[in-house]
Amino acid sequence: MAVCCNDYEDVGTAASISSVHPDVIRAHILTRLDGPTLATLTCASPEMRALSSDDGLWQDICTSTWPSTRDPLARRVIASFSSGHRSFFSDSYPLLHRWNPPKQRPRRHNRPSPATELISAVDIFYKDEVIFSKVHVTETESGWFRSSPFRIDMVGQKETVVTSISRNPAEDEDEWMKHLEENMKMSWIVMDAGKKRAVNLSSRNPVSVLRHWLTGEVLVKYATVVAGEPRRGSAAEVVQFAATVTFGAGKSKGSSGGGGGGGGEWEEVTEVNIQVEDMEGRILDGRDSLVILTAAMESGRRMQREATAKEGFEEFEEMKRERKRRQHRAERALDMACIVAGVTLFVAFWSFILFR
């Protein structure tokens, strides 16, 4: 029962929220605010800033948004950030801006050194419930990583993750795809312990849900488009980070059939991975991807708006198609030129022989 030493005033414009005891503010009011609101409150006054900078508050917000941050390793890395959980939230909550325009690219001598270790924290949500949550460490110094295509897998080779998603048999294929697209969300946060930065590489909502033509698996794709190499005209000028969740073709039967019908069929997740794709559809290798990722972490502009993720993906696809068309045209022009040259030579040769 703490008694505050502020006097109350009946009349006048005395400060109001300072009359509430700070413990009450901290325990009851601030715990009810979400991340962006708390960040706004931090800018209001020195008193509010002191109260809102409490790391415990931000830790609660982070763990409720991304359960994988409860992992002790993740927590240790986040604690080393400059403002602890608050800077982590500010780095990871907004999504990467679609494409950094050319004038913001880092100069060569200012390029940050790549990370020695990447820590990925992945959370997959279905209808706002967590169905998968894992932290994984990827070392980046070995030659094997640098030369092989960049790929981080969250689910091991023979493992599957059984989820509580069951498909309504009455739904047809399209409706099921649409249902998945609307209800599944994923966040893939990559942290760099050395530079104390983090970035969310996944668009919050899927950009595409497709059924693989051969294996019949359903692939849910989340993509972010970022600037790649500064060299103009190269295939890697704009690249796309694509995180994919694969639902296996096989389904596991539900054991205890509580409630409704008999054993339902639960979907299984067989793969959760991320890759980097350039404009020609090629997967980049570890070294290049690492450079791009580090640049995105350091200087990528982050935005709150989510609607742009799907547009960005579609723009990227369009860029790919455009590039292909251009190459096609160039090749055909070259072919045409060669044919014309060959025919001309042939005609010239024979006319020379015949009309000597």
Binding site: M1, A15, V20, V24, A39, L41, C43, R86, S90
Partner: protein, 334 residues
């Protein structure tokens, strides 16, 4: 036998508890209503106070009579067992409709009386008020002092807010810091070349205006401002791309700013002239780094008032921010 005893007791007889607030006024409250508060309940049970006027329970400092009335209304409604949840919710919604100041007082009073349901209710209402507001609005609603430096204000919002104004302010502040650093470097370089110029103001003006260094000086409201020709318009054009209504207000703002900032400084006309000469030298040094946007008065403060200059820069950014805010209000009101 017992029925007879009960029949003797009058059914309307209620017991009252006496409560005294900090200002000395004493009032009596029905027992069931008062016992709804854990703190009063404990006082009655442990110390036996409150049974008469002389032994009234002293309420904590934060409970004034008006707030006590509201709290008792709340207790009176909720202590009745028979009400449904829906009724209670409706009552709560109506109860909570008061201005922010009362809500805060109610929260602290409820906390000191340990009335947890009311604390939850008022905290939820305050959280709802805070959500969705910009820092400026929060400061207005809760009458908070505006004591943070610009950087502290903008740093937490750097990534989270989409507001283009915030990004603009961030960039502006970064630019000002850079200019401040360059100014420091210049100042260190020219400290050796102190020279008091005895020429009159008019001579100086004509000197500057005749020189084709791309600078022009004008006297407005007995203040000398030196602008780089052409640069000002380009700066305006840049702003034009983002917001049209800034052009008119920019020149006005600069004109207003100068007298305001000069008034707060102790400098007089002597320093005016002396520093004008220094400004002329500055332009000789490196015309590239002389920023026309920071008016001449920033040069005045170079001497020994560096923190003052920093404050001015802060104030300029603030004015800018305030203008943006008022523009925003203006635009939204259209």
């Amino acid at each position: 036998m017992s029925e007879g005893i009960i029949a003797v007791i009058k059914p309307e007889m209620k017991s009252y508890i006496w409560l005294q607030t900090v200002d000395g006024s004493i009032q009596q409250v029905e027992q069931e209503v008062a016992m709804f508060c854990p703190m009063i309940c404990r006082e009655v049970i442990q110390t036996g106070m409150g049974s008469s006027k002389n032994y009234a329970i002293l309420l904590p400092q934060r409970v004034n009579p008006f707030i006590l009335g509201s709290i008792l209304d709340y207790c009176r409604f909720h202590q009745v067992q028979g009400r449904s949840n829906k009724e209670r919710k409706t009552f709560d919604e109506k109860f909570i409709r008061m201005d922010t100041k009362r809500l805060c007082e109610l929260t602290s009073a409820a906390d000191s009386l340990q009335l947890k349901p009311l604390v939850d209710l008022t905290s939820r209402a305050l959280a709802r008020i805070i959500e969705g507001k910009t820092p400026e609005e929060i400061r207005e609603t809760f009458h908070l002092p505006d004591d943070l430096t610009e950087e502290e204000k903008l740093e937490p919002l750097r990534n989270i807010s989409d507001d283009p104004r915030i990004r603009l302010l961030n960039r502006l502040y970064a630019r000002k810091r850079k200019e401040l650093r360059e100014r420091e470097k210049l100042k260190n370089a020219e400290v050796e070349e102190e020279r008091v110029d005895e020429r009159s103001v008019d001579d100086l003006l004509s000197f500057i205006n005749s020189e084709d260094a791309g600078y022009s000086a004008t006297v407005t409201n007995s203040v000398i401002s030196v602008d780089a020709k052409g640069d000002k318009t380009s700066k305006n054009k840049k702003k034009n791309r983002r917001r049209k209504d800034q052009i008119d207000s920019t020149s006005n703002k600069d004109e207003e700013n100068i007298p305001k900032e000069l008034d707060t400084s102790p400098s007089t006309n002597n320093i005016l002239e002396a520093n004008l000469s220094r400004a002329v030298k500055v332009q000789d040094f490196s015309s590239g780094t002389f920023s026309p946007k920071l008016e001449l008065d920033d040069g005045f403060m170079d001497d020994d008032l560096d923190p003052a200059m920093k404050e001015e820069l802060d104030r300029e950014v603030e004015d800018f921010a305030r203008r943006l805010n008022s523009d925003q209000h203006f635009v939204s009101e259209l």
